[in-house]
């Protein structure tokens, strides 16, 4: 399933294409990690969503040139990324693994990696300090990483990716292990980077996290892109599937009986405060409900579509 015809290359994000993936596949022996993905990625924040083991991290590794596609290509700014180190001066990556030079302080860690971006020691340190400040770690910067909490470790990992001010940022599960306040600040930071015109790709298996960062998503499952684009565009695509509408009415039983008479209504479930109506024709159903209520003297207190959140989209498409 795709949002666009097969002949067209799907694109997510705005502006020029920054990352171009062409028929990229990667096998781990007999197991396929990424399966024939073609995609253009522009500017702004892109959420890469999928369940654990869907192939998100493998795709991230292809996008960052850590792995070479078995077939196909991945290009960044028009340059094939495998074994092209110059691209990395414009790219920052937050890997999923919880790996650090434990004996270093957070400041040393970020400074060291920033120096390897070609900055002098003094400038690398200044950039490291600024970057550490952006992730609210200034007070802890001189402590050894081995003494950090999970959330602090995650934030210092983000700091190393930001310090050289890259155009492209890839964050693999960046909110793992963060507390609610840290989570909020990272989400805000990602939003700011997207607003600044950078290409930011964030992978997550937790849908509501990504929902707070962007409406641009790529859904991936079993190594394949299941859907891509704007969340609302994806909604259009899934309209052929049963779509749930929540109705809180003064007489739920009567409303349920009236709706059950229509062919597009697949099922009706009673909840504490109303009914969940599954329909194959959501637009018709949305316009029908107020009319039925008016004709039958039923008061409608609330109509909502739980399907508007990513969870519902995800459930539909990865089935």
């Amino acid at each position: 399933m795709s949002t666009t015809p097969k002949t067209e290359i799907p694109k997510v994000g705005t502006g020029d294409t920054v990352i171009a993936i062409r028929r990229a596949s990667l096998w781990y022996g007999q197991v396929i990690g990424v399966n024939d993905i073609t995609l253009d990625i522009g500017h702004g924040v892109l959420g890469l969503l999928g369940p654990n083991g869907a192939g998100k991290s493998t795709l991230m590794k292809l996008l960052t040139g850590q792995l070479r596609p078995s077939t196909g290509t991945v290009a960044v700014h028009g340059e094939i990324i495998w074994n092209s180190p110059t691209v990395f001066s414009r790219l920052g990556f937050v890997p999923e693994q919880d790996a650090y030079y434990e004996e270093m302080t957070g400041r040393e860690f970020v400074t060291y990696l920033t120096r390897l971006q070609g900055f002098s020691k003094a400038e690398a340190q200044e950039r490291a300090d600024r970057s550490i400040e952006r992730v609210d770690m200034t007070k802890q910067r001189d402590r050894r990483i081995s003494e950090y909490s999970k959330g602090m470790r995650q934030r210092v990992k983000i700091a190393q990716a930001l310090a050289h001010d890259p155009d492209i940022l890839l964050l693999d599960e960046p909110l793992n292990g963060t507390d609610p306040i840290g989570r909020r600040s990272i989400i805000d930071l990602i939003g700011e980077l997207g607003d600044a015109g950078k290409t930011v790709i964030v992978s997550s298996h937790i849908l509501h996290e990504v929902e707070q960062m962007t409406t641009n998503i790529v859904l991936i499952n079993k190594g394949r892109v299941v859907a891509d684009g704007n969340i609302y565009r994806i909604r259009e695509m899934i309209d052929e599937h049963a779509h749930t509408i929540f109705v809180d009415a003064s007489d739920s039983r009567k409303m349920a009986a009236l709706l059950a008479a229509f062919d597009d209504v697949v099922s009706i479930e009673f909840a504490d405060e109303g009914i969940h109506v599954a329909t194959r024709s959501p637009d018709a159903c949305y316009s029908r409900i107020p009319k039925l209520a008016l004709d039958n003297g039923i008061e409608i207190r609330r109509i909502a579509s739980p399907d508007n959140n990513l969870m519902a989209v995800f459930r539909y498409l990865v089935k």
């Binding site: 960052t64 040139g65 850590q66 074994n83 790996a99 004996e103 971006q117 070609g118 900055f119």
Partner: protein, 263 residues
């Protein structure tokens, strides 16, 4: 705000990498442990000095021939050469390095150079101290200097060659210790005792560079195929060791550049 001047040249990034790596290696526990091991001959020599029952130059040559070149030199290379890139793989920090604007081949070379410098320091400093102690005993400094020069040259060549080969094996198998030990047993312990095939061992050439005789070799095996034990000129052995080191570095760089590591 400072000006943003980035030096993305290979040499600039390489020197940064080597500098930071050296500092990291210096702080590691294994460096302290290896330093203790490397100082052992010095402690042993101190005992002899106290009892004054051996000639200093003989003692220095004996330690170099029987302990330094066959064991302490490869041990230092096993500690620093093999793990040069494998430590980053096992610690899962390799990702950070491979995402810098520095080619993987340069990264490999930088890591091996840093490891080799560290190994040289940790082997040569105790060797110099040992020499000083032995000279304190014999007081025959001028006559002994050429021996010291040859031993230092042989130890340095050995460290460079072993480190390069062990690092290449580490890049190939993504595991350094087992591969290095297998290599050491196969080439340096088994082949080193066989006629002609001993030329494939670094140990043979280090002995030649250091100017040691072939007295401890299995003479009867040599005599089965040769009239007398094989002997090369020191500079030929030096050349062979240099070629082996270059092959290790080139092969390791190539493997590290092309191989995909699942970190």
């Amino acid at each position: 705000m400072m000006s943003s001047v980035r030096k993305l040249g290979t040499m600039s990034l390489l020197s940064t990498l080597i500098g930071v790596q050296l500092r990291q290696l210096l702080m590691q526990r294994k460096t302290k442990a290896l330093a203790v091991v490397q100082l052992m001959p010095l402690i042993g020599a101190l005992v002899y000095v106290v009892f004054e029952n051996i000639d200093g130059l003989t003692m220095f040559s004996g330690v170099a021939e029987s302990l330094l070149l066959p064991f302490l030199v490869p041990l230092a290379a096993i500690f620093y050469g093999g793990p040069a890139v494998v430590d980053e793989m096992e610690g899962r920090t390799l990702t950070y390095l491979t995402l810098r604007p520095i080619s993987k081949a340069t990264l490999f070379v930088g890591k091996v150079i840093a490891g080799t410098i560290m190994a040289l320091a940790i082997v040569l400093i105790p060797t110099l101290l040992l020499f000083g102690l032995c000279m304190f005993q014999s007081m025959d400094f001028a006559e002994s200097l050429p021996v010291l020069g040859r031993v230092l040259a042989a130890a340095s060549c050995g460290i460079i060659a072993y480190s390069a080969i062990f690092a290449a094996l580490g890049a190939l198998f993504a595991s350094s210790l087992l591969a290095s030990i297998l290599y050491f047993v196969a080439f340096e312990m088994v082949l080193a005792t066989l006629p002609v095939l001993e030329l494939l061992s670094i140990r043979f050439h280090l002995r030649t560079i250091a100017g040691f005789t072939s007295s401890d070799r299995l003479g009867f095996l040599d005599r089965m195929v040769l009239d007398q034990p094989l002997q090369l000129e020191w500079w030929v052995s030096l050349l062979i060791v240099a070629v082996l080191a270059a092959l290790g570095i080139a092969g390791g760089s190539m493997i590290f550049k092309e191989k995909q590591y699942l970190v």
